[in-house]
């Protein structure tokens, strides 16, 4: 049993409790020590310097913080770093090819102008990559339904759907 040392039991704010966390992030083993309250999102951004993953609402509603955990898309703002110990994390920084070329989904987002301010884009792209792996990009309607966890306040949705369908159909969509 993993055990972080005890906080005050009388209801007063206890002392900070720190725990060691090992993560495999974009293929590299990373070891950090975090406050038990630290989200995976804050650990990625603040402890590991991977600021591509964005903090939008920090309450699980907007999808800007989407990463892949053990291959599944999840919200890093509602994942405790301590609970992710030992797991495999993939972020937007891990998408590029070995030769430094962008991932096809990144290229499609650029080609289709699928963003305005760009703040939600890393989350959109991580969700979009997962959506194709899940086999949920069979129609525009299906893409809309299974991208519903990623909000874009600029309203770039039509071009986001175009970009994803482009990748899903192997570039047969202009």
């Amino acid at each position: 049993m993993v055990n972080g040392s005890a906080a005050a039991a009388d209801g007063t704010p206890g002392p900070v409790v720190r725990v060691p966390v090992s993560l495999r992030v974009n293929g590299a083993e990373r070891r950090i020590e975090v406050d038990t309250r630290t989200s995976l999102l804050d650990a990625l951004r603040d402890a590991l310097g991977l600021t591509g993953t964005k903090k939008g609402c920090d309450q699980g509603q907007c999808g800007a913080c989407t990463v892949h955990l053990d291959g599944k898309r999840v919200l890093s703002c509602l994942t405790l770093a301590a609970s992710a110990d030992g797991r495999d994390v993939r972020t937007i920084e891990g998408l590029e090819r070995d030769d430094g070329a962008p991932h096809p989904m990144q290229e499609a987002f650029a080609r289709h102008d699928a963003l305005q301010c760009g703040y939600c884009t890393p989350g959109q792209i991580m969700s979009a990559v997962a959506l194709i792996e899940e086999g949920r990009a069979g129609s525009d309607d299906e893409v809309r339904e299974f991208m519903s966890g990623n909000l874009c306040r600029c309203g770039a949705y039509p071009h986001i759907v175009d970009a994803i369908r482009d990748v899903a159909t192997g570039g047969r969509r202009a």
């Binding site: 005050a8 209801g11 406050d35 919200l75 509602l78 519903s148 966890g149």
Partner: protein, 342 residues
């Protein structure tokens, strides 16, 4: 967020012992409710017992009776929705799961945690307001506040918060049960006896005592000839809680009469709301408009609306008629092709 000690349990017994030993301990599974409410200081546990590594993930089929799915409590919503028997034999469960939350949340959220998720009442989630569920005795700010999303069935003068789970509504209609492991051993609780209406103790939401852990769900399969579905009416097409929802299953005989009916409502009750009286009205009847309207009337019987949520009574009735009518005709209530998985 209050600081907390963190322990990761390797076995169910270890988890239960760690939680039972500390009255301020709480379990952590998918975290989608737990972490959110801790950040808002609605939950302030001194210790989190992380149960995510317990061997409680996966679905097994037991072939007693008509067949029962024994679902590990840590199975995610996406995993259960994708299971073969759920797809073929329990469309109402699959639809309830896939119409809940977002894909990311469904990959995180466990089915055990889903049944324990907390109300979306904005006052419950805001510690600066009065809420008998969060802080017993402080009153209910929703009664004369914003209550468009709130319940019309099972309410009390102390609380009108809606239970938010879709899955629980489908499981209630199926007579599912939860298996619980606690400091005093194991027990099974039928879902129909699990949830508590608020009465004068809105903070008591279910039958669990401190330290008890849901380890499995037991979900009876419907007979192969049953038709079932989950209709969810909401303010936007996806990623939204229900204003009103209906889980229903019908077996219709060759002569057009209903042999058996199951009906439960979500979005309108303080707890998932089964309606035995409506099921009785349907049994043996032909599903014509009068019968469906009578069932809908029975389903919302006793409902009490307030200025901003009284619309839910009529909405709930219409949703019942639409769902039952679609099942009787072998159609989809929302026009989607069955099996599309929306």
């Amino acid at each position: 967020m209050r600081s907390f000690a963190y322990v990761r349990a390797g076995t169910v017994e270890e988890a239960v012992a760690a939680a039972a030993a500390d009255p301020e301990a709480a379990y952590l599974a998918g975290g989608t409710t737990q972490v959110d409410l801790m950040r808002d200081e609605v939950f302030r546990p001194a210790r989190l017992v992380d149960i995510t590594r317990l061997p409680l993930r996966g679905v097994e089929r037991r072939d007693d009776g008509g067949g029962v799915l024994v679902v590990g409590a840590l199975t995610t919503m996406e995993e259960l929705a994708a299971h073969g028997d759920v797809t073929t034999r329990l469309p109402l469960v699959r639809e309830a799961l896939l119409r809940g939350a977002s894909p990311q949340l469904r990959h995180m959220a466990t089915v055990g945690g889903n049944l324990l998720q907390r109300t979306r009442c904005r006052y419950y989630r805001d510690p600066s307001t009065a809420c008998n569920k969060r802080a017993p005795g402080t009153g209910c700010a929703a009664l004369d506040g914003h209550h468009r999303m709130h319940a019309v069935l099972g309410t009390s003068p102390h609380c009108i918060a809606t239970h938010p789970s879709d899955l629980a509504v489908a499981l209630l209609a199926l007579d599912a049960a939860v298996r619980v492991h606690g400091p005093d051993g194991e027990r099974a609780v039928p879902l129909g006896e699990f949830y508590r209406t608020p009465g004068s103790t809105p903070h008591v939401e279910n039958a669990l005592t401190h330290g008890e852990l849901i380890t499995h769900l037991e979900i009876p399969l419907l007979p192969p000839e049953a038709r079932s579905g989950y209709l969810k009416v909401r303010d936007r097409a996806s990623y939204e809680f229900a204003l009103a929802s209906v889980a229903a299953a019908l077996v219709v005989d060759e002569d057009g009469r209903i042999r058996s009916a199951r009906l439960a409502l979500g979005g309108v009750g303080t707890v998932p709301w089964r309606v035995p009286r409506a099921e009785e009205l349907l049994r043996g009847a032909r599903p014509d408009d009068d019968v469906l309207r009578a069932a809908a009337e029975a389903a919302l019987s006793g409902a009490e609306g307030r200025p901003d949520n009284a619309f839910k009574i009529g909405l709930g009735r219409r949703a019942v008629v639409r769902m039952l009518g679609a099942l009787a005709r072998g159609e989809e209530p929302d026009g989607a092709a069955r099996g599309e998985g929306r």
